[in-house]
């Protein structure tokens, strides 16, 4: 499905963050990954902040006079499902988390370019993208 409007870009960002939220909630609750619980709890917290930031951006940074159509951007490359239930070991859940973070980070990077006509939105998306970059860095240290 194409992402051709301000709202669709922000709403899809919210959907991705909610996927992340569900992933980290499940991972944090799984006793098999008890040694990673603090990490996943922290990521869960960050994700919930991101959701609030995305919602606030959709609410506050909509500029009615420059709601311009967006071209050549679709959901498809960001729709890969990553199921925490498939991971059986800590290494597998960390790999899954990396995939998840890479996908979300890539979305924010591309979306922030597509929506550059709304510069505050672009900046907000870049900022949230950086949070996912930080998660990736953290995951890479483990």
């Amino acid at each position: 499905m194409p992402l051709i409007s301000f709202g669709s870009i922000l709403s899809f960002a919210e959907a991705l963050e909610k996927q992340d939220e569900a992933f980290y909630a499940a991972a944090a609750a799984n006793p098999a990954f008890a040694e990673l619980k603090d990490l996943f709890d922290q990521f869960l917290k960050d994700t919930r902040k991101n959701i609030k930031n995305v919602q606030r951006t959709r609410r506050e940074n909509v500029t009615e006079m420059i709601l311009e159509p967006i071209k050549d951007f679709t959901r498809a490359p960001f729709c890969e499902e990553i199921d925490p239930a498939k991971a059986k070991t800590s290494a597998e859940i960390l790999d899954a988390a990396r995939c998840l973070e890479k996908k979300t980070e890539r979305y924010y990077t591309e979306a922030s370019v597509k929506i550059k006509a709304l510069s505050e939105v672009s900046r907000a998306l870049k900022m949230i993208g950086k949070k996912h970059t930080a998660h990736l860095k953290k995951l890479d240290t483990l």
Partner: protein, 484 residues
């Protein structure tokens, strides 16, 4: 299944109108009835004015900062209910959900701006205007004001006025458009949460009888109106006759000029937004596109191609860029204008008649429509269509553009796309419309600047919002003082 019935909000209560006449509210994307609205009566107006008048003195003596605190609370309440307001708006008006979000945002921005009352409402003083005599100019509220607002921006337009009236100490009555009463009803439901004293804000639904009831009422100090120009003129005349303050904003025929040095690639998204955003039903929509000189063929080709790509559909679908027009009757009016353009010899290069949207066979859709080779004397280049119809009038030079702008029957907004500062300056200096866009297709002043046109696009002298709105809602009392 019975449809929800809108109620009036008077003196802090939701009350039924005493009318026997009702109208239907439609979902224009589906072409189905979703609610009913009472066509209120003079008695409904009397009840609202009585409540507002009784609430006035206590509200007027409430310190401005305390009044502003209600608005701070209101802003928070609006933010919390932001998406819900936008969804109701799109459901009854049809515009794309992002457009509704943008509109709700602008509504909230007016609330935010009005909270600056403690500086914006200040008067002025001068000592020693004569020996031992000082002079003060105090801005004082005046009493009961009212707004009569249109269907195209069901949330925002009432709020170009209401927060400023309230925060400066007046009490208020809103008459929403009878075509879109649900959005303002939702807003008033939210407003109930902030605990405003009874009677400070009131809402009366209806049509002509409510309008005339407000215009004729001796206890109303002033009227703010936005709508079509003939009605704006009528409102202005009636208010003058009954001694009221009035600001009556009317229609438009906005021209968007493209100079040969314009960056067409950069500008194209904002051009399509200008002409087709809100399905052309905004007073700032582009209506006449004027390519200048040898840019014409390239521009027309690219503009038509971009317009064909516009996704038309139900505004609640995030993929939709352009929704339906407001009603079956308005759709027919737009189609009649298209027919008129064909009859008068314009070249129809994109035909939005018989436009079908999958899944919405009964919706009031008109597709993007473009006429080329339009001449300035044609009906479609002169009259306000208020739909997704573009008239392309080719011009040789800037003088022709300015002449075209200044000979329309309206003077609301005009825009120019150019990379030349000198050309832009010449344009903004000489055109009559009061809202000018330079490389912007929708020249919409934000809450802290005045909104309104000139000529037949505006009757009255004080525009919507901006700093000067406080002039409309206050009387400057001059006190000249000497002590012995």
């Amino acid at each position: 299944m019975s449809l929800p019935m809108m109620k009036n909000y008077i003196n802090g209560d939701w009350v039924d109108s005493n009318t026997a006449t009702f109208g239907d509210v439609w979902n224009p994307a589906k072409g189905e009835k979703i609610a009913q609205v009472p066509y209120g009566t003079k008695e409904d107006v009397d009840a609202a004015v009585k409540a507002a008048k009784e609430a006035y003195w206590e509200w007027r003596t409430t310190p401005p900062l305390s009044r502003a605190r209600y608005l701070f609370r209101l802003k928070d309440a609006f933010e919390e209910n932001f998406e819900e307001i936008a969804e109701v708006l799109t459901t009854e008006q049809g515009k794309a959900i992002d457009e509704s979000r943008g509109e709700v945002r602008r509504m909230i921005e007016n609330v935010e701006h009005a909270t600056g009352v403690t500086t914006l409402m200040c008067g002025y003083t001068l000592e020693d205007i004569a020996k031992d005599i000082d002079c003060y100019g105090h801005r004082q509220p005046m009493g009961v004001f009212a707004a009569i607002v249109p269907y195209n921006f069901p949330a925002m337009v009432a709020w170009w006025f209401l927060p400023y009236a309230l925060v400066s100490g007046n009490t208020y009555i809103v008459k929403p458009s009878e075509q879109v009463p649900m959005t303002q009803t939702k807003i008033f439901e939210i407003m109930e949460e902030i605990g405003l004293p009874e009677g400070v804000v009131n809402m009366v639904h209806g049509a002509h009888d409510v309008v005339n009831g407000l215009l004729d009422h001796p206890d109303i100090e002033g009227i703010s109106f936005v709508g079509a120009s003939p009605t704006a003129k009528y409102i202005y005349q009636q208010c003058c006759a009954t001694g009221k303050r009035v600001q009556a904003l009317g229609g438009a025929k906005n021209i968007v000029a493209i100079m040969p040095d314009a960056d067409i690639e950069q500008g194209m998204p904002s051009l399509t937004t200008s002409f087709f955003g809100c399905a052309g039903q905004r007073c700032l929509s582009g209506s006449v596109l004027v390519p200048v000189g040898d840019v014409a063929d390239e521009l027309v080709e690219k503009f038509v191609a971009a317009s064909k790509d516009i996704k038309v559909g139900n505004g609640l679908d995030e993929q939709t860029f352009m929704g339906p027009v407001i009603s079956a009757a308005h759709k027919q009016r737009v189609l009649d204008y298209i027919e008129k353009g064909v009859q008068e010899g314009a070249k129809l290069v994109l035909d939005g008649r018989d436009f079908k949207v999958e899944g919405y066979p009964e919706g009031f859709f008109v597709g993007p429509t473009i006429f080329d080779n339009v001449t300035p004397d044609m009906t479609i280049a002169s009259e306000e269509i208020f739909g997704p119809v573009v008239s392309i009038v080719r011009a040789k030079n800037l003088d022709e553009v300015i002449s075209l702008v200044n000979t329309r029957n309206y003077a609301n907004a005009s825009c120019i796309y150019t990379s030349s500062g000198a050309t832009a300056r010449e344009f903004k200096y000489r055109v009559k419309p009061s809202m000018v866009g330079i490389n912007i297709g929708i020249a919409a002043p934000m809450s802290f600047f005045p909104f309104g046109g000139a000529g037949n696009s505006m009757f009255g002298d004080t525009k919507g919002h901006g700093q000067e709105i406080f002039n409309f809602f206050t009387d400057t009392k001059v006190v000249i003082e000497r002590w012995f």
